[in-house]
């Protein structure tokens, strides 16, 4: 089970594409009472045979690091806490980091990930402080700092229609910084067009060339859009439990205690659209989520040759594209196709170089941020 706790909706950044509407005052920060209810929800709703993946999110979650630590203490003290079943992570905007925070993250076994869109010319386009000032210098310094403590720390970059062609530059920038775990995600709320889709093969192919160079040079880099597809190709497709389980095996909690299927759907936390209930209500959840990762409702997917390798089941991405959790849009279709094609080409190229890719095979296509980081600690 995956749970995301948006401990605050306050943020020191004002990113252009943020899907969490920032507010101040009432309901901006999760209260201790709500946090307690959330923890009880997690313990009571998770089947005993399932692991529990808890992510702290925001706003900027490290603005409320003391609250996060108090939630962690509450979990550790819980009578049903089993260290073998729990994984913890936090995704930060990279503006807040220190030796003391690193020590606390290690003590509490919380794996950090940093969101950064790339070099200054890209990062400062969309990711700025609330007063509009650039964030790149601060974030770059903190990425370097954090990598000293968490060498396989993931960095998440969001690309937009106007930065798509610079994606290989983003990869090169991160690799030069020492980042070895790169996640590249499209801005799912952006207006993507056929022209952007046509660019994907070329852009991903250039990233594939970098991937190959890093691999051969002995400094391999995990790049999500490539590694996940290499694994899923060699594995023969996504397993049912590896698909999005939002609203069933995955829940997100707003500071108000409202329950959503996914953190990307909290939005303005209106308690209406997408909202499944509230942890303060007697029953917790009053609605069920209609998302079904096993059945796409887009007829174009039904006879597609690579549907088993495709993330056409990502409910929130689908919703932003088509308004339907179960129906993927044209851009994700093109993106998945380009990603699978690139990964397949790399399997062949690396095979020619003598790499068997056996190391990919025992992995999972969708290793979570927390899992990958925890694996190194």
């Amino acid at each position: 089970m995956k749970y995301t706790l948006a401990v605050t909706r306050q943020c020191n950044f004002g990113c252009a594409y943020c899907y969490i509407s920032g507010i101040s005052g009432h309901d901006a920060v999760m209260s201790p009472e709500t946090a307690e209810r959330v923890v009880e929800f997690i313990f009571s709703r998770t089947p005993e045979h399932e692991n529990i993946d808890i992510g702290f999110f925001g706003g900027e979650p490290l603005l409320e690091f003391e609250l996060i630590k108090s939630i962690m203490r509450r979990i550790y003290r819980h009578e049903r806490y089993d260290p073998e079943r729990f994984l913890f992570s936090v995704v930060t905007n990279g503006s807040i980091f220190s030796d003391a925070i690193a020590a606390d993250l290690k003590e509490f076994r919380i794996s950090p990930g940093i969101s950064c869109d790339g070099p200054a010319c890209i990062q400062n386009r969309s990711r700025v402080f609330r007063d509009g000032s650039p964030t790149s210098a601060a974030v770059e310094g903190n990425i370097r700092h954090a990598l000293e403590f968490f060498p396989f720390m993931p960095v998440n970059a969001v690309y937009s229609p106007d930065t798509l062609d610079m994606l290989p530059d983003v990869v090169e920038y991160f690799h030069a910084l020492g980042v070895r775990n790169i996640y590249l995600n499209p801005d799912i709320s952006a207006r993507w067009t056929a022209r952007h889709a046509e660019m994907l093969d070329g852009v991903f192919s250039r990233i594939g060339t970098l991937y190959l160079d890093y691999y051969k040079a002995g400094a391999p880099c995990h790049i999500s859009l490539i590694d996940s597809k290499i694994t899923v190709i060699l594995r023969g497709g996504y397993e049912p439990l590896e698909r999005c389980r939002m609203g069933k095996g995955e829940f997100a909690f707003a500071p108000s205690g409202n329950i959503y299927p996914c953190e990307r759907l909290i939005g303005s936390d209106d308690g209406d659209r997408h909202c499944l209930g509230n942890v303060h209500s007697a029953t917790g959840m009053l609605k069920r989520c209609s998302h079904d990762s096993e059945h796409t409702s887009n007829p174009f997917c039904l006879n597609c040759g690579i549907s088993r390798y495709c993330m056409n089941w990502c409910g929130c991405t689908n919703y932003f594209a088509t308004g339907d959790y179960n129906s993927p849009g044209a851009f994700i279709c093109a993106s998945e196709k380009a990603s699978v094609t690139t990964a397949y080409a790399l399997i062949e190229k690396l095979g020619e170089e003598g790499f068997s890719f056996a190391d990919h095979l025992a992995g999972t296509p969708l290793q979570s941020i927390v899992g990958e980081v925890s694996g190194l600690q």
């Binding site: 002995g218 997408h274 690579i306 196709k337 190391d359």
Partner: protein, 131 residues
């Protein structure tokens, strides 16, 4: 509170412990189980160990990616899983096994359909009341 993280000689073991908490550990090429069985029989491969034991030593030439600081995957040398056993392959056997599987993938890529940007998608109701 949890114990401090282990270090030194225990670290690799700990990595293994954590690694298998990630996602859903599963044999690869699950969909090709029949093919794997036939390949093992045809090549008279002997099981090198159980999956859970994790003690099998590779007889194939090691692939020089052991310095990857990356918890993905497990054994970095060619191998197959079949009904709970591990079977180690040399490079030639690996190529022999993987080539047709990848060829099938190539055929799948040729059969890709694309969702057109101008397609109209009927919007369904996102959340439903509990029944």
């Amino acid at each position: 509170m949890p114990e401090p993280l282990l270090s030194g000689p225990h670290m690799d073991f700990q990595r293994m412990e954590w690694k298998w908490k990630i996602g859903i550990p599963a044999d690869f090429w699950l969909v090709e189980e029949e093919l794997i069985g036939k390949f093992i029989t045809a090549n008279k491969l002997k099981a090198a160990g159980k999956v859970a034991a994790g003690v099998a030593k590779s007889t194939a030439k090691a692939i020089s990616i052991d310095n990857i600081i990356d918890p993905r995957g497990g054994r970095k040398t060619p191998h197959l899983h079949f009904k709970g056993d591990i079977y180690l392959l040399d490079a030639k056997q690996w190529r022999e096994f993987s080539t047709p599987v990848l060829k099938e993938m190539s055929a799948r890529l040729a059969a890709v359909r694309s969702i057109p940007f101008e397609s109209f998608i009927e919007v369904s109701q996102a959340v439903l009341p509990h029944q």
